[in-house]
């Protein structure tokens, strides 16, 4: 009995693609969860969703130019993500329309452009679905190293500027009166989100990215009232979801990205139900 459970757990790990996929999704899940805490607290979920869709044309150009090599796609994704993040940040300040309207227009337009570009290639369907939904089981050692380096950049930057980022997020007017570099900090956060999106592209794809950015952090928000603990719990929830999701995907042959996101969502729903039941009991 124990042996069969053991082999159930170990068997997938005999495949190199599963090992790499697991490590990659644990890394990406952690980075998304930590920066996701800021995204949730600042109400930037729509921005995150828009940003991940907006990078598609850049990725598409990279795909056409390079013939689909994983290594160069990351750089195209990163470049487009940073330009789009700062661009969207500017639109939301300057535009006369409501911020969400202008972001919506740009995001849908760019997304359509990306799909149009990719569809010029004859055998596009498979590759397109990888961009949209991720291809965690196709991660190479090279991409793993890229994910590790850039994921670390994001985490270290958050660690370094943690106190200032908290102040601009909680009370921008205090940040201004303390003469903190408010513009720099806001742009820094946008760039860190952009890097996270680029790093996550291969793991979850553009369509489901927002779930990794928002759901584990939202689950953690329900569980604690201290920010560092919220980041920790978000990371734990994301890592568990990644592991469970990949096993589910392996054994039930479900698309891996959607399996991970579904487990994240399940965690959120369960937490939410338990917390509201508890809330009812204690308020009685």
């Amino acid at each position: 009995m124990i042996e069969s459970i053991w082999s159930w757990i170990v068997q997938p790990l005999t495949y190199g693609f599963m090992q790499r996929g697991l490590v990659a999704s644990i890394l990406v899940g952690t980075v998304c969860a930590v920066i996701g805490a800021f995204i949730v607290l600042r109400g930037m979920a729509f921005f995150g969703d828009a940003l991940s869709h907006t990078i598609l044309p850049g990725v598409a150009v990279g795909y056409l130019v390079s013939g689909g090599a994983q290594g160069s796609l990351f750089w195209w994704a990163l470049g487009t993500a940073i330009v789009s993040a700062l661009g969207i940040g500017m639109i939301s300040k300057k535009s006369q329309l409501r911020e969400d309207t202008s972001i919506g227009i740009v995001f849908a337009g760019m997304f359509a452009l990306g799909i149009a570009l990719i569809s010029t290639v004859r055998s596009y369907a498979v590759d397109l679905s990888h961009f949209l939904f991720g291809d965690v089981l196709g991660v190479s050692v090279q991409s793993l190293i890229t994910i590790l380096i850039f994921g670390a950049v994001v985490l270290v930057a958050i660690w370094a500027f943690y106190k200032q980022l908290v102040v601009v997020s909680f009370d921008p007017l205090l940040a201004a009166t303390l003469r903190l570099p408010v513009k720099f900090l806001n742009n820094l956060l946008l760039i860190l989100i952009a890097i996270t999106v680029a790093v996550s592209l291969q793991i979850v794809g553009v369509a489901l990215m927002v779930a990794m950015l928002v759901t584990p952090a939202a689950t953690a928000f329900l569980l604690t009232k201290r920010l560092p603990r919220m980041m920790l719990l978000a990371a734990i929830s994301a890592v568990l979801s990644s592991i469970i999701g990949l096993y589910v995907s392996f054994y039930l042959s479900i698309s891996s990205g959607s399996a991970v996101v579904l487990i994240c969502t399940l965690f959120f729903v369960v937490t939410w139900v338990v917390q509201s039941l508890r809330g009812k009991r204690s308020s009685r």
Partner: protein
């Protein structure tokens, strides 16, 4: 003194000269000129939309005047970090996952080193600030669990931790019950020992008259700035409030009635 910018203590703590501010075409502040002495408590009074919040933000250097000068201790205000703006409680996100200690520590952010947890010296400063406002026992309390008066005192502690010389309080008394208002007014008086200068926006003319050294009557332009008896005349109030004011001549009290409704009444 940890403040990076020099202070010329012979200069007034705040010197505002011919300040104008527009939101687009809309004039919010029109040629404001005045100065404050160290340790004063000033009540800023005027109807909704009079420009009280805008004035505070311009003084704090959060918004930049279209023309005119704002100097603090003889130097341009936008560079000082000794000015605290204490927001209206209604604009704060009370569900942000921080506790009282965290928020007060935010006042010291400009002095903190990257990467490390704030050292002993900063922790002590935060504890001292909490003690001053009588909240040492609530340091670990989540901010959504505070009463209105406690929320307001927490922000004053944060301003103390910031080592602010000038505190600009945006409607600190609005929405508090009477005992909490009394506590807060006493605390403001106590801050005089620390040479803290206070400007507080308020709607209660009686309180303004009783608890503040001078009254600043504002409606886009400065109508009158001085002692209560000179400022709160029927004539001045009519200029400030127009038809929206009812003078309740029941002996002494005058009330600006258009404010009875406005917890969070930003338009």
């Amino acid at each position: 003194m940890t403040h990076p910018l020099k202070h010329d203590l012979n200069q007034p703590i705040l010197d505002v000269a011919h300040v104008n501010f527009k939101f687009g075409e809309h004039v919010a502040l029109d040629d404001i000129t005045f100065h404050l002495h160290t340790g004063e408590r000033v009540a800023v009074v005027g109807p909704n939309g009079a420009g009280k919040s805008t004035l505070f933000k311009v003084i704090a250097g959060i918004l930049h005047a279209d023309s005119g000068d704002v100097n603090v201790f003889g130097f341009e205000s936008g560079k000082h970090d000794c000015i605290a703006y204490i927001p209206q409680r209604s604009v704060v996100d009370w569900h942000f996952p921080v506790n009282v200690f965290d928020v007060v520590m935010m006042g010291r952010t400009a002095m903190l080193k990257p990467f490390v947890i704030p050292g002993k010296q900063h922790q002590a400063a935060v504890r001292q600030a909490l003690e001053k406002v009588g909240m040492q026992d609530l340091a670990a309390r989540q901010i959504s669990q505070l009463s209105g008066g406690q929320q307001q005192r927490m922000f004053i502690a944060r301003a103390l931790a910031q080592e602010a010389n000038l505190m600009l309080m945006d409607e600190p008394l609005t929405g508090l019950d009477d005992p909490a208002q009394e506590d807060l007014l006493k605390l403001m008086e106590k801050l005089e020992q620390d040479k803290v200068t206070i400007m507080a926006a308020t709607h209660d003319l009686d309180q303004a008259a009783q608890h503040f050294n001078r009254i600043f009557l504002l409606n886009r332009h400065l109508i009158r700035f001085g002692k209560a008896k000179d400022v709160l005349t029927a004539e001045n109030l009519k200029i400030a409030y127009g038809g929206r004011l009812r003078l309740m001549e029941d002996g002494k009290s005058v009330m600006a009635l258009d404010h009875s409704c406005c917890e969070g009444g930003e338009e």
